[in-house]
Symmetry: C2
Subunit: 151 residues, 2 copies
DNA sequence: ATGAAATTGATAATTATTATCAATGATATA
DNA sequence: TATATCATTGATAATAATTATCAATTTCAT
């Protein structure tokens, strides 16, 4: 997303790009493709702005999410994670390894068919999220070895 | 899922099928295809067992989830929801309407391709969850009318 | 029967998030 | 430039969901 596109959205909603919000945005840009928790954002933002508080981080994340600058999601851990929304063009295909927790993204867009199927029924699709739980190649191999020795 | 299949899994993990657990399981069976919160389960379970506590409900839900008797998920509302896991054969395709909150399920299994793609790369797929955010036909129509009158 | 282990309800503790509020900062207008 | 207005902030209290603790009870295998 372009810098001025972000500014435009903020202005339109009467939001100001304060130092704190800039810091939060910087953190998200520094971590393109990552999915950060509010706590992680706080820690990183304090490098740039030592006095920033957790409430402001939550508020900033909420502000950016509401403007679709960030994408807010959860991986069933009891907390939210945020990422720059231009990273995935609103296609959230995540693969999570239950062993090492590594999160990767699937590029492919194949949901077209299902969405078409729904639209034919009168639905109006806004967004979707797909999460696949799978051992990553590294952990799958480790697991295989472990299983063998347990026999 | 068969009754004795459930018993077998419980025994294998040294869990006992107590009155409280039976009540929780009954509630889930009474609400096949629904996605209940712990609080909702508590209320319904109290009909069958007035003294059951919230802690026991959480423990029972956790117990059944760990045995794949229940499926635990979240729709980004800051809490978990549970459903009988034989309802969807581990295919979690949910459509959520942002307007009325109605949750429906997509039958179709079309994720085969993506999973194959991942397995070719060495991943070992365990499960997946797909959530589609879409106005349901009813709300889509209402929204259309509203948009027209706003012009 | 009895001892070990599982389970329970009540409740305290924890975790993530949201709300409150007085103080500060920015902006538009006079 | 002064000032009134409104957004924003940090600190912290409040809330909501979940988990941990613990003494009492129940269950099961012996």
């Amino acid at each position: 997303m372009m810098e001025n596109e972000i500014m435009e959205r903020l202005e339109k909603a009467n939001y100001r790009l304060t130092g704190q919000r800039k810091a939060v945005l910087e953190v998200m840009k520094d971590n393109r493709g990552q999915h950060l928790t509010a706590e992680e954002v706080l820690m990183a933002a304090r490098e740039k702005m030592p006095n920033i508080g957790i409430a402001t981080v939550y508020r900033s994340l909420e502000c950016f999410s509401s403007l679709d600058i960030l994408y807010k999601t959860t991986f069933d851990e009891g907390k939210y994670r945020y990422e720059l929304s231009d990273q995935h063009c609103h296609q959230h295909h995540h693969v999570i390894c239950p062993n090492c927790g590594k999160i990767t993204e699937v590029e492919q867009d194949f949901l077209f068919q299902v969405e078409k199927h729904l639209e034919d029924q009168g639905y109006e699709v806004i967004d979707h999220q797909l999460t696949i739980y799978a051992y990553c190649p590294k952990c799958a191999k480790e697991k295989e070895i472990e299983d063998m020795s347990n026999k």
